[in-house]
Amino acid sequence: MMLRDCVNAFMAVTMIFLCSISPGRAAEVEAQLDRDSVPAGNGAILTLRISGGHAEPPEIPAVENLIVQSRGQSQQVRMINGQTTVSVAYTYAVGSHTPGVYQIPAVDIVVDGKKFTTQALQLKVLDSGAAQAPPAAAPNAPGAQPAAEEPPDTGEKRFGFLTVEVVGSDRKHVYVGEIAPVRIRAWLPADSRANLRSGIQPEGKAFTLHNVSGQPQQTQEIRDGKRYLVVTWFGGMSATKAGKYPASLSVDATVAVRDTSAPKPQRRRMGGPFDDPFFDNVFDQMDTPMIQKDVTLKSDDQEIEVRPLPTDGRPPGFTGAVGDFKFDASEIPNDWKTGEPQQITTRLTGSGNFALMKAPELTPADSWKTYAGKDEFTAGDNASFSGSKVFQFSAVPRMGGKQEVALAFSYFDPATEAYKTTSTPPKTIQVAGADIVDVEPVAAPATKEPEKKVATLVAQHVAISPAASLVPLIARPAFAEMLVTAAVLGAFGVIFWRVRTRRDDPRRRARAATEKAVHEARESAGQCAAARDVTGYFAAARLALQHRLGALWSQPAQAITSAEVHARISEDSPVARFFHEADRHEYSREAQGEILPQWQALLDEALASLTPSTR
């Protein structure tokens, strides 16, 4: 009974644990082939991915002439926001020696007791001879033929290439000034590593590239049976002059690809029904070394005809806008006064060369004088091809009375290949004041090609300037000489400062005065000794010692007595002994007599013991 309880408890804990790592969502099964077709004798990779539960290894139903070999399984555990997802991927190499279309049937998989079925897949096995002829044979694909049978891919496109497509148009021509939205794609081999070293640039001077998107999109795509990493940009291309020009773009990149020309490693044959040589290439792919090269990825030269804008039917107010535009909003004040400016705001939306757009015209034109204002563009897409532009400008009415006004904007529509003029609904306004007659009427817009403002050179200088050297001072020896002069001046300044501060130091001056007094006292003592004046000798000698002690003890020399010396200095010291000797002679009343050499020696010893260096 107890054993049964323990088993039940263990099962309960196990269930709780399994539930805790069980998926937060329903179980899913998925079957995927890495390619749709393979040459006969080659293999494709079939992946069965089971997530959200526990399942037994699936069994692939047998198909006649189709070889299926298991390549193992891998497990992935993901925890997102506390939810744990376990997925198991079973990998198989599938292929056949017999060309034909093979149906890989749906696989039944039981996940946590529930039956799931994958979708059926189709694999086309091509005739190996026919499959290698076109470039679609996917020479780099896993499972490709051994190197001896297939020449290695050493062409320029081995490292990738660019494609350029005009988006949303089937036209093979563009118009001068038109900005055609283009999609630029860099096709890089899927198993390569690439680093772009420059921006995308046109190869020739006929076209210019605008507003290339800064953050390109990255996708995996199959082209001609080969898998590529595709980096996609959007931008606009425009031409400035008419004619037929090759439109080619390029980008500098460093690309590392697998060197298919490298010799393949020899594999040991283990025997068995599924030991087929074409499965070796799955592993050869991983063993192939990488080669890296700085390359310029180019698009094919695609000739594009650039047509001039037609002169027939060009509206007077046309200022070079090419695209498709319409008024989105406009704000015109109701009440005006002749000669007084007010601001008009309007917004044009659409697609085209917004960069060249000028403000719309206020009609009737001869009733108004307008001034250049400001504009602001808001892009509607990555390439800034569509969007809206807000214009704000000032206008002055020249005619009084009640009027109907509107804003008009003329453009060339490349889709219909015709000029169009779009207008705002007419608005009735009231203008106070009399007509302005002294103002020159606004010139009617030119009916010919819009005039381009030609900036002219600023006039010649008429006064000759003095001669000067083109070589900057820093490159001339004078610069170094000036710096050396400055350094010397600074060094002298520092030296003078040190000298001055030393000279003005009060402690140093006091020390010098002390030494001078000591020197004078010793001189006096020497003179007394020569004159056999014992009293004078000892008085002068004591004074010399007092000066030294005064400097040491920061006291006036005269204030230092024998008692203080005996109290502060050891009796054995030469100073105390000299003071003792001086007292003895002073009190002995022997005014005249011989100055014994030992007294001189004792004085010298006492003074030496009080020299500044011994302090």
């Binding site: 070293r197 420059s198 500098d252 900036a455 050179l457 600023v458 006039a459 010649q460 200088h461 008429v462 006064a463 000759i464 300037s465 003095p466 001669a467 000067a468 050297s469 083109l470 070589v471 900057p472 001072l473 820093i474 490159a475 610069f479 000036m482 710096l483 002069t485 400055a486 350094a487 010397v488 001046l489 600074g490 002298f492 300044g493 520092v494 030296i495 003078f496 400062w497 001055r500 003005d504």
Partner: protein
């Protein structure tokens, strides 16, 4: 005799000055009359005899511009800019010339900083450094010799020293950031071809276009090794197709 010698020197000086002025006027007249080729020759001769002058370079640039020789025009304007970096006429015409030649200068990361750096020429920045250093040295010498008794005087001296130090730091920074200009050159001709090696028959790598500013490297025979900024183009270019902005041939 001394007086005669001095008078002779004065005549010589005035004569040279007037000769320069009259040649300048003559070239201006040629320009006015539309003889741009003649004006170019006269301006070039004036430069070779009288030395670099901002007005002559400027007018020479205008003459080349009229002849649609944008490379030499931009070169002349750039040389004038070394002498008068803030001349608005010069900057306007240089911009026009670059636009005509489609030889635009790469905008810096910080336009305001670029404007501040280019407000003074490299020569003027050098003078700022030299002046600051000389001022600091003189101030140090003065303070070493004379004691400044008042606190205000000491504060004034310290503030002056700080200003001089700032001027030196600013000048040194500007010269460091503009160090590449010391080896700048201008492409002169339309068909100037950058080659893989310094030989006329070497593989062509590209044509930078006239007026383009390039970095000049080593010289080998009749070729310069050049790098075209931001174009990833570098190689050898014939010396006749490129000229350094600071010319060795002109009197310095």
């Amino acid at each position: 005799m001394n007086r005669n010698f001095l008078i002779g020197l004065l005549y010589l000086f005035l004569g040279t000055a007037f000769a320069g002025a009259s040649a300048f006027d003559e070239a201006n007249q040629q320009f006015k009359a539309g003889d741009y080729g003649g004006a170019v020759a006269t301006y070039e001769k004036l430069l070779s005899t009288e030395g670099p002058r901002a007005a002559v370079f400027y007018n020479l640039g205008n003459s080349y511009q009229q002849l649609k020789q944008y490379g030499p025009a931009i070169l002349a304007y750039e040389r004038a800019r070394l002498l008068t970096p803030r001349d608005p006429d010069l900057l306007a015409n240089l911009a026009l010339s670059r636009k005509a030649a489609t030889a635009f200068e790469d905008a810096g990361l910080h336009p305001q900083m670029e404007a501040a750096l280019n407000y003074l020429s490299r020569n003027e920045w050098s003078w700022l450094i030299a002046g600051g250093a000389l001022f600091l040295g003189t101030l140090a010498l003065f303070c070493g010799l004379v004691r400044l008794p008042k606190r205000g005087q000491r504060q004034c001296a310290a503030a002056s020293a700080c200003l001089a130090g700032l001027a030196i730091a600013a000048g040194a920074t500007a010269l460091y950031l503009r160090r590449a200009e010391a080896s700048r050159g201008i492409i002169l001709s339309e068909n100037a071809t950058v080659r893989l090696s310094p030989f006329d028959q070497a593989e062509a790598l590209g044509t930078p276009g006239p007026g383009r500013s390039v970095h000049l490297g080593a010289q080998n025979g009749g070729f310069y090794y050049i790098e075209v900024p931001s174009a990833n183009l570098h190689g050898w270019l014939a010396s006749k197709d490129v000229a350094p902005i600071t010319p060795e041939s002109l009197p310095k």
